[in-house]
Amino acid sequence: MSDLLLPPEHRYAKVIEERRNEDGSELSVLNLGPTHPATHGIFQNILLMDGERILDAEPTIGYIHRAFEKIAENRPFYQINVLTDRMNYCSSPINNMAWWMTVEKLLNIEVPKRAQYLRVIVMELARIADHLICNSILGVDTGAYTGFLYVFQFREKIYEIYEEICGARLTTNMGRIGGFERDWSPEAFKKLETFLHDFPIAWKEFENLFERNRIFIDRTVDVGPISAEKAMQYGFTGPNLRAAGIDYDVRKATPYSSYEDFDFDVPVGKSGDTYDRFCVRNAEVWESLKIIRQALDKLPEGAYHADVPDYYLPPKEDVYHNMESLIYHFKIVMGEVPVPVDEIYHAVEGGNGELGFYLISDGSRTPYRLKMRRPCYIYYQAYTEMIKGGMLSDAIVILSSLNVIAGELDA
């Protein structure tokens, strides 16, 4: 049996037994997590330490595994949306929209331009919220609490916009098959305008606090670097990959929801260290703001959902007064809608990288198989290699700069 199959503490006990340092000190095993406040989520890492230095690590994951893929095999398509919320809960609207787009691709539904643009706006807002949390918490982990306080209230503003759009804040369950459940209220656009005016000022201030900060640079430059080659091997996507210097972005590579209409850049880093990841996320926030501005300026009039009565719930008044609407309503709620037999894969650029749904449909009311490509799950594998040889405090910083979200990791 391979040694790697043993529990890590047994493996490490052997190493400790065999090795003594020259000054007589011993190696030690440290249990980081699962519920350490510095890990921002439930991850456990069993570390083999030589003093402050990490020699080896083994992550344990699955503490909040909720079997989403199994549940999805037993639920009609519209009920799966609430599962996607709970994956990357820092940017739930991206997950929601990704799921609807997957279903629409399966059902061959053409979404009206207005709905597509509104989706782009809300997805970019979610990306800002995601990067904002990641970067400001990275600041907290390096000892700079102030920046976090400056920008964190803007996450609240973003949540207020979500609330205005769909009524929920964190787990949004936003949208429907074919578009949105309702058109955006004037209040939502007003809040969005206020946000677009106030947020850049705060974000600029935040950047100024960090980007040339001596302490921050000392803590992050050359900490946890990963080469482009390695990042590709480990299946990195999203900001973490771009920080290593590869400009792969799903929004550019395979544009969805009209991303081809907007003009934006894909910021890339060079060395793939913590500082580059921080800067790439910062720059992406500016690009997201640019996209939102363009989408608002070009926002077409028209329907906010596709005309697909088979899949889109009719207005409630009609259900009470109109036989046809009642039938559609009943069929949709019961999940008895026509679904083709097919296999599709749809990917979007999530907060952390390529979020993909591989959906096998056998024509029944539920997916036959739904595989979620969760970017966190895939790139967290590299964490062990990135922290080896570093200090314990660097391991914490690397973890926050990778933006590993427990919900997405464990699904």
């Binding site: 993909g356 591989y358 490509r373 895939i378 790139y379």
Partner: protein, 170 residues
Amino acid sequence: MALDTVNIQNKITETFGNSTSNFRMQRDIFCFDVDSDKAYNLVKFLKEDADLNFHFLTDLAGIHYPDNEKSQQFAVTYQLHNWIENTRIRVKTFLDGENPELKSIVDLFQCANWMEREAWDFYGIQFDGHPQLKRILNMDEMVSHPMRKEFPMEDSGRTDKDDRFFGRTS
């Protein structure tokens, strides 16, 4: 050379002949099946051939088909991506229902490590040559593979969620 599906198909059939079958477009992705004993070589070929250059493993998924004949009850799909040509490809390989086994591709793609562990955890697919094939999301003490279709999602003793009361049969 643009990476047309015809070119991909020609190159693959040239090298692998009868081991590959069922070439088809599934919406925007070109797919085909491969015999399980050739799967490793095929993925290696797709990755290392200079023209094909599918250098990125997007995803690896296990699937259970209990209604198929015995030798095809499990499947593994590889989704590969060539970023330069921006072409995706999906390779599916069917495995035996009794004893699903496949050669591990961890030495080709490091990210396959946890993906294969996930497939082992949930479907019980044995990956030969995997360095650390143990459960990943479920606890080590678990004996079953919960994504198999026969594994019930909910407590079978429950009566309040009987589908028959909602007019559903299946």
